[in-house]
């Protein structure tokens, strides 16, 4: 969203409040990361079962005692919780996320291998979802009841249908039957279309609902009437005046958008046999691969913090009143 120039200030010289806001946000962000690391650490620690046996045991294993002892020693599994936790935090402070139990490589490397694929998927999904949301909401707000009902129905279906089902239906139609797209994998741009569309539909529903409701309200405001009275065309009124007001709640929902994209990637990547952070997370949870699980949670939390910071700044661009408020 490019905001119209504000007569009250010039570009490049934000009020001092903005800088303070950013610093405050960053401090809170670090706190969020620490909290996320701690909670995940405790949650995984509390899963019952001996981690060493999980790493080496199972129905198809026959580990020797020496191997089990070695695992306990290497991963500090015999140490008290506090020691394990402090050791982990110490590592984090030095930028060391630890070693994956399952893959036996550094966690940063394990996540690094997958992050590009997930970024591609989430980016493509956002590129599909946002224009779709704006187009649908802008054209359907304050229209005849049957159009609203129809659009609203589609939104509800998109929002309420589990991602797995949406993905499977798309697969059946476009891959199994029509053979337009590969059934899964990471080969070529065609392979990203269906997974991205699946994710996009899941986030489109709620976003479009919120934006349209806001537009409905805004379009009844007096200034809209004024704009129309000045002879502005309907499309102009919707895009230039109403949208700017209605988009704030949608921005607020960016956090939701990121969460939905990251969470959805777990399901979508598994369904479409794609590599990515989501399928890494799933495999790691199955195997109680603690370092990788915490790594993925930290990554998600970091993305969240950054996005929220960005949203905050955007607020001030779109609606200068936010800074002083």
């Amino acid at each position: 969203m490019r905001a119209a120039p504000d007569p009250g200030r010039t570009a490049g010289s934000w009020p001092a409040g903005v800088a303070r806001r950013i610093v405050l946000r960053l401090v809170v962000g670090v706190g969020v990361l620490w909290g996320a690391a701690t909670l995940t650490f405790l949650a995984v620690y509390l899963i019952p079962g001996d981690t060493a046996l999980l790493i080496l045991g199972g129905p198809d294993a026959r580990p020797t005692q020496e191997a089990i002892d070695r695992v306990r020693q290497d991963y500090l599994l015999d140490e008290p919780l506090a020691i394990q936790y402090l050791h982990y935090l110490g590592g984090l402070l030095q930028g060391d996320l630890g070693q994956s139990y399952r893959l036996r490589i550094p966690v940063a490397e394990a996540i690094g291998q997958q992050i590009g694929s997930t970024a591609q998927l989430a980016g493509a999904a956002a590129l599909l979802a946002l224009p779709l949301t704006f187009a649908v909401a802008l054209t359907s707000a304050q229209r005849r009841p049957w159009i609203r009902s129809l659009v609203s129905g589609v939104e509800v279906v998109c929002a309420a249908t589990p991602t797995f089902v949406i993905g499977f239906v798309l697969l059946m139609m476009f891959s199994f039957s029509l053979h337009w797209f590969p059934i899964g994998g990471n080969q070529g741009p065609a392979s990203v279309v269906l997974p991205a569309l699946t994710l996009a539909l899941a986030v489109f529903g709620p976003l479009s609902q919120v934006l349209r409701n806001e537009l409905d309200d805004v379009l009844e405001q007096a200034f809209v009437l004024t704009a129309r009275a000045r002879g502005m065309r309907n499309a102009q009124v919707r895009v230039r005046h109403a949208l700017r007001h209605a988009v704030l709640p949608v921005l607020t929902m960016s956090g939701f958008l990121i969460a939905a994209l990251l969470g959805g990637s777990v399901i979508v990547e598994t369904l479409f046999s794609r590599q990515g952070v989501g399928s890494l997370a799933l495999a790691s949870v199955y195997e109680k691969d603690l370092p990788v699980i915490i790594g993925v949670v930290l990554l998600s939390a970091a993305v969240y913090v950054v996005v929220n910071l960005g949203v905050d700044l955007l607020y001030t661009l779109i609606d200068p009143r936010v800074v002083t408020a």
Partner: protein
């Protein structure tokens, strides 16, 4: 460690349930697609066609181990993956007989404790380093090194004491006691030979960057997703039973993890993948009916799928209850329904494919009347309000823990229904994997379902010898069978050289097990895979019945 879907997948009943649940969905899909002919519809190529060089074979696989160093994992998928990049010291030929591979010959001392291997010359690993006696020794040491964290290989070579490098290509192994299974385990995919140079210089990277001497070389590995292999230039030491020598015909093999069974099936049919290493049973009929595909359903040797009883505690400490439980279950009906007709029911504790399987051994037939009689006689002769048998105020309950899943294991649900009619309550306890493993090692259950695949009949020792009861060390005798007579037979069997003496001992062991009833045998542990007819010369191994792609080729 392996991903959720072991191809011992029967040991993860939760997953099996998921497959079954989707079976219904698949019928719908199949209906929708009825008009859609197979795009992969290649014509069958006659068996004597000349192999074509070139092309990359795309393979889908249900899961991958997360680590490709066979010594450090126990995952089922390694049976297939290991054959691509590793060679073994010995191999089992078409007839299941021990045959040369990286060792040209070997001598076994009279007492069975010393093995002298004469190694093939001129073999190199993909990093250029040579195969020789020192490297063989390094491999055995690497398997048992605690730093390798081996969940399987170390236990298989447990009797290995040390070795002597006699000369560059002669290696002498000293075992603690006579252990005939030694050679067999050396033929298994998990025990493939790794470059000695890599073991010395970069042991920490073997998981992600394994270096073998096999027909393919690892090119790129994306853990959890895909593994790319390229043909090994200059390869020329395949085992004789493959019927060819020289380099692979394919330029490479691209293995992709496709976790969902329905998707694996569909992407095979659509031609996206030429071969799937694991075809779910509910898709078998469709693929079998399609002339454009070859479907294989081969039993894995070793222990078939068995619901093992815990003989250490009530109620299965009573042989009558064990026999009654077995008589109460219609194994054939349960198996038929579980495997969509693709599972082979068994009544023995040893797979019919295993060496020394004794067909004269007969299991307990389905006989509900006998089950009632046995339980009445054992004192479980009154019933509570829900119709379950009681004795001294206690209900006849059998606790069976299993790994937790969205729906309970279909096998256990079926067994629950079967034994309900005999007045036995089967309680399904769903637990997270780690907790299940703990409970398993603590012996805190009445019965556990599982398989154990190995290419040696020594599986009976692993599963039923008293020294394999988990105590100070972890064992696989989860039935807590502690029978001096059986112990003596099994010890004799593993010490006997292959031949009549071993055959006799293993036959005795199978009969003795049938008397002891340590569990309820259910069905063979199947390896089910399928491939398009454009893929030619897919071999299978007698150690593991999985596709061997050494000389596979793609028809134009």
């Amino acid at each position: 460690m392996s991903l959720p879907f072991h191809a011992h997948f029967t040991a993860r009943p939760g997953t099996a349930r998921r497959i079954a649940a989707r079976g219904a969905g698949l019928t719908v899909v199949a209906g929708l697609l009825a008009s859609c002919a197979s795009p992969a519809g290649t014509q069958a190529v006659s068996a004597d066609a000349t192999p074509v060089d070139g092309g990359v074979l795309n393979v889908s696989i249900s899961a991958e181990p997360g680590c490709l160093d066979g010594h450090g994992i126990s995952a089922t998928q390694q049976q297939f993956l290991g054959r691509l990049i590793y060679d073994n010291v010995v191999t089992l030929d078409d007839n299941g007989e021990m045959a040369p591979y990286l060792a040209e010959s070997w001598d076994i001392s009279e007492d069975g404790k010393t093995y002298t291997f004469h190694l093939k010359e001129g073999v190199t690993f993909s990093d250029g380093s040579p195969w020789n006696a020192t490297v063989f020794q390094q491999n055995l040491e690497h398997m048992r090194d605690p730093a390798t964290k081996s969940p399987l290989a170390a236990a298989y070579i447990a009797p290995y004491v040390d070795g002597t490098v006699i000369d560059d290509h002669t290696f002498e192994v000293h075992l603690e006691y006579a252990y005939t299974p030694f050679l067999y385990t050396l033929a298994q995919s998990w025990l493939g030979m790794t470059s000695g140079k890599a073991i010395t210089e970069s042991p920490g990277t073997l998981c992600q960057n394994p270096v073998g001497s096999g027909p393919y070389v690892l090119e790129e590995y994306q853990p959890g997703q895909s593994i790319s292999y390229a043909k090994r230039e200059g390869y020329g030491w395949a085992p004789e039973w493959l019927g060819e020598t020289g380099e692979a015909h394919l330029d490479g093999v691209e293995v992709t993890v496709v976790a969902e069974p329905v998707i694996r099936h569909q992407s095979l049919v659509s031609g996206q993948y030429g071969l799937t290493e694991n075809l779910a049973p509910q898709n078998a009929a469709a693929v079998q009916a399609d002339p454009a595909f070859t479907y294989e359903n081969l039993p894995r040797t070793g222990s078939p799928y068995v619901l093992g009883f815990n003989l250490n505690r009530e109620p299965f400490s009573d042989p009558a209850v064990r026999e009654a439980f077995a008589a109460a279950v219609d194994t054939e009906a349960v198996t038929e329904s579980l495997g969509f007709g693709t599972y082979t029911p068994v009544d023995s504790y040893l797979s019919k494919e295993s060496k020394y399987y004794d067909p004269s051994v007969e299991g307990i037939p389905h006989d509900p009347e006998r089950a009632h009689q046995l339980l009445d006689d054992a004192g479980w002769d009154s019933r509570d309000a829900e119709g379950f048998r009681i004795k001294d105020g206690e209900r006849l309950t059998v606790e069976v823990p299993t790994v937790e899943a969205s729906a309970p294991s279909p096998l256990l649900v079926q067994l629950q229904g079967e034994v309900r009619q005999a007045g036995i309550e089967l309680e399904i306890i769903q637990l997270p994997q780690a907790q299940l493993t703990e409970l398993r090692y603590a012996g805190d259950y009445d019965a556990l379902a599982g398989v154990w695949h190995t290419n040696t009949t020594d599986v009976l020792f692993i599963r039923y010898h008293s020294s394999e009861i988990t105590g100070e060390r972890i064992g696989q005798n989860s039935s807590y069978v502690n029978d001096p007579e059986l112990d003596e037979i099994l010890l004799r069997a593993r010490g006997a050289a292959d031949g009549p003496e071993a055959e006799e001992a293993y036959s005795q062991a199978q009969h003795r097990l049938t008397d002891l009833v340590p569990g309820l045998p259910l069905y063979e542990n199947p390896s089910q895979f399928a491939y398009s007819n454009s893929v030619q010369a897919v071999a299978t191994d007698t150690s593991h019945p999985v596709p061997v792609l050494t000389y596979a080729w793609l028809a134009q």
